[in-house]
Symmetry: C2
Amino acid sequence: MTSPLRATLDFLLHDWLQAGSLTARERFSDHSRETFDAVLDTCERIAREQYAPFNRTVDMQEPRFDGDKVILPQCTHDARLAYAHSGMLAAAQDYEMGGMQLPYVVESAANAFFGVASIGIGANLLTTGNAILAHGTAVQQQVFAANEFNGRWTGTMCLSEPQAGSSLSDIATRAVPDGAGFEADPLGPRYRLTGHKMWISGGDHELAENIVHLVLAKIPGPDGRLVPGVKGISLFICPKHLVDEGGRLTGEHNDIALAGLNHKLGWCGTVNTLLNFGEGRYPVRGDAGAIGYLVGQPGEGLRCMFHMMNEARIAIGMAATMLGLAGYYASLDYARTRLQGRPVGAGGKEAAQPPVPLIEHADIKRMLLAQKSYCEGALALNLYCARLVDEARTGGAQAAADARLLLEVLTPIAKSWPSENCLEANSLAIQIHGGYGYTRDFPVEQYWRDNRLNMIHEGTHGIQAQDLLGRKVVMQEGAGLRLLGRTVGQTIQRAQDSGHAELAAWADALAQALQQLQAATQATWATGDAQQALANAVPYLQAFGHVVLAWKWLDVACAVRRADAMLSGAANRGRTRAAAYFYHYELPRIGPWLAVVARRDMTCADTPPEAF
Amino acid sequence: MTSPLRATLDFLLHDWLQAGSLTARERFSDHSRETFDAVLDTCERIAREQYAPFNRTVDMQEPRFDGDKVILPQCTHDARLAYAHSGMLAAAQDYEMGGMQLPYVVESAANAFFGVASIGIGANLLTTGNAILAHGTAVQQQVFAANEFNGRWTGTMCLSEPQAGSSLSDIATRAVPDGAGFEADPLGPRYRLTGHKMWISGGDHELAENIVHLVLAKIPGPDGRLVPGVKGISLFICPKHLVDEGGRLTGEHNDIALAGLNHKLGWCGTVNTLLNFGEGRYPVRGDAGAIGYLVGQPGEGLRCMFHMMNEARIAIGMAATMLGLAGYYASLDYARTRLQGRPVGAGGKEAAQPPVPLIEHADIKRMLLAQKSYCEGALALNLYCARLVDEARTGGAQAAADARLLLEVLTPIAKSWPSENCLEANSLAIQIHGGYGYTRDFPVEQYWRDNRLNMIHEGTHGIQAQDLLGRKVVMQEGAGLRLLGRTVGQTIQRAQDSGHAELAAWADALAQALQQLQAATQATWATGDAQQALANAVPYLQAFGHVVLAWKWLDVACAVRRADAMLSGAANRGRTRAAAYFYHYELPRIGPWLAVVARRDMTCADTPPEAF
């Protein structure tokens, strides 16, 4: 039997996003609906067998340091191996890189199964090969990227430091040339790094033979001082174990030491570390200092890293979404089977009747429909963004440029909206379980804990909001926002042309919401004063996200209508009801959010610190 | 130096609620501002010394069962003893009961310190003496209530069963007369109980000599069958260890056995249990069956228990509030000391400047002000409700009747609103901490986990909503809602008469909101069909709560204006800013909530189970 997640993915991929049409493109010409299905089948099976049964295990058996090694449960080793063997680490890569040239949208859909099964195990799948491919030399690509894609090694991103989380301009890790001839190393210009890196996921473990750290650091100027701001930041490859240009381990441990494990509220299946670079714990060739190979040009580090930060942000949105869906499925199952109480009839309750399944109660249905509209909506948005990535890579010139611009505007939403709303979905999943949901005998409390991270890592909510309102909607004189408006307008037009009264009513509501959003954008920037404009960036982000989600739901509802003849009535009715929920209960929430934005409300910003 | 919490309590108790005026009443005539202050001083000290340092300890050292006893950390024993010695267990009781005849509002304020310091330890303070005082015989009062108030014994409430959580009409615990002469027992009519009780806080431990369980059970009819519905429910006292009429332990263990501990997401400092009554594990006088003494009349059990459920619900609201405040204080402290980034100036950021404390950033201020408005507002509401309890007990006839009616309407809000919004406050406290907030090195993640329980226990959010919209606002032809309207109207009038433009503007907004609320109440009941009327009971509860909180903030803001000359400028400015936040950012949220209520939106209720 098709699982509910698979049915939803199939619908979104094929009935909605027409993923099959990608096979007409040269890059994907070996593919077909059958190969796409086979990838999804494989991933669903591995996730079911190797991930889902161990999600609580990795929550209970936190990573620990035995003084020498970081110990993870055996199931994490097994799961990663199964994933690596599937070839999914390189799914979207070129054949020459050992990849299968899968569209990114299909890769994303296939990875969804791991997110639902166990986000903690699943996050051990991340590689950093893409940034190396984009900015590294041929040797760096062959040595470091290829060995991540084939599963031999794993990767990390080392950005934050204990004193510099959101504020990367304040990083203090230094990189100095490693002696004479440092520029001639075949692996790239060789530096010695010293500094502390915080919040490094996968920073130390024994899951693979080596760990490829991508590290942001500053090269001091001639006066020995670090350049303030982000312009002084460069990017380095620091392997845990040093390797030669053939990718063989040299037997030398790089001067990178585990300084501590972070003990987290959730997401315990993924080890998170504080790393000390270059403190002399593991001297290399007699000297302290971690060996690092420059990637790209000096001073271009943040740009190079952000190449993969954008994909990482979409991946976080996807993780939040899958945790949300996991809670939805769990609470739906519970609501169908748990007997409790009697529904309110027209005249009240009848105590003499037997109790009914929870799902018969109106408020339980409300909490289920809210979850469905949040999580399936977020899934639609994330798959749409993944489809834009494919368009940016393989579409015609104009289509590719448009896709890139839309992605700029949508990435903060794809990251932040599921992080906030699918977390709320998890809370509703607990609520449906009542007291049982508050115990560790059911999975929903873990989903809620795990999901709380997503509003924090890879750029907090506040950072996403500043990115959206401070950069993305104003860049190129607002070209991104205008393009989004036109694209949303196409959906509105389609819905209005459908002749379907409900779709047309939603289209009107969306058109009005879009206008409100555009007006608020203009109003908040009316004085040109960034302090005023950005004072309510987070409410703006929340409203923007709700408009985008309303758009996705209208688009999905149009696809439901097109596909109606072919699909099961109940699943399509559910999609339409989730869209209705979003238009009736959620979209109107933008009013209060945009009101403070539009009038540049300074209530918060003007409150002096001593008044708190 | 006065702690921020103490300053807030002093302001609310004295400048706002005029608690001192209660000393003019006979019952409180021995009291004065000095005795009130002394109680607060004592509680603040005990909480600081015996509770706060151990809040993480009780989170890490969960209660465990060693096969014989339930083991709690030593700090829990010490803390309870210090609390019992303070006399606070009987603070509001008559002198004859060993009490100090303290106003309930002062008792509530004093207990706030324990909630902020450690909710998990603090919840071991609950007694059930009040229900026994209200409905028990003189002997039951002297034996059971008095020994709870003096700290010798502890109490529990045993309502839920594994198959009956929210739906108490389905409880299956049976109580049958304990042989001939069962009615002649000096401790009350003696029954034998059999059944399972779930979610029993404090259900087993070694904190005290005995545990007094108050148990809901059904007495079978002559045909041996249980009466369906809540009408068949009676209330029993089941002590863990049997006692004689002098309160001396007889040495007999009652037939009550620990069936298991619940392993919870949070609130780990309070043991929570599944208890088996009468399964024969501890036969009494040769027979299976737990001995229980009837309290009040047969069939009146739920009414008797609800006497204390209402106070328990206000206590839950207070617990949620104090967890919220604990997070607020922690994140405020962090925001004042942690340096990160630069605020956006009119023209953007200046990277060459040194980093500033987090509290300089507009979005951090927004998250602090939101917390302050949620938590201090919730504290005001809860203290106001406590003041109503005093009025109901000691006011003149009309004032007491009004207070009782207002309490009926406000209790679901006092319980539910802090549970939802102070939980959100805790999430904001995590967010301010960034990644650090997600680790167990900081206290905020624990507050968030602990607080998640409050929307569930003592009646879920959904149950509170049905109580409010299904009973409280329609009882006595809507007299409660009308009384609330008049009372809110007095505040509105006062604000309009103040001549202060900001207060007058908020008064107008509140008047409009109140009207919207009343209109929605009428509209949802317009067809008289309970199924339609209650379909959106939770959005109604949310909107109702926001209107009530806006009222409290306006009332507090009026008091700030009155007290302004006497109080520190910064603290009062903070209160006014929190009120402004509530009016600008929160009150407008009622629009979308009430819209679905008013149009009796059936999107959720009409979605068939198979569509999910």
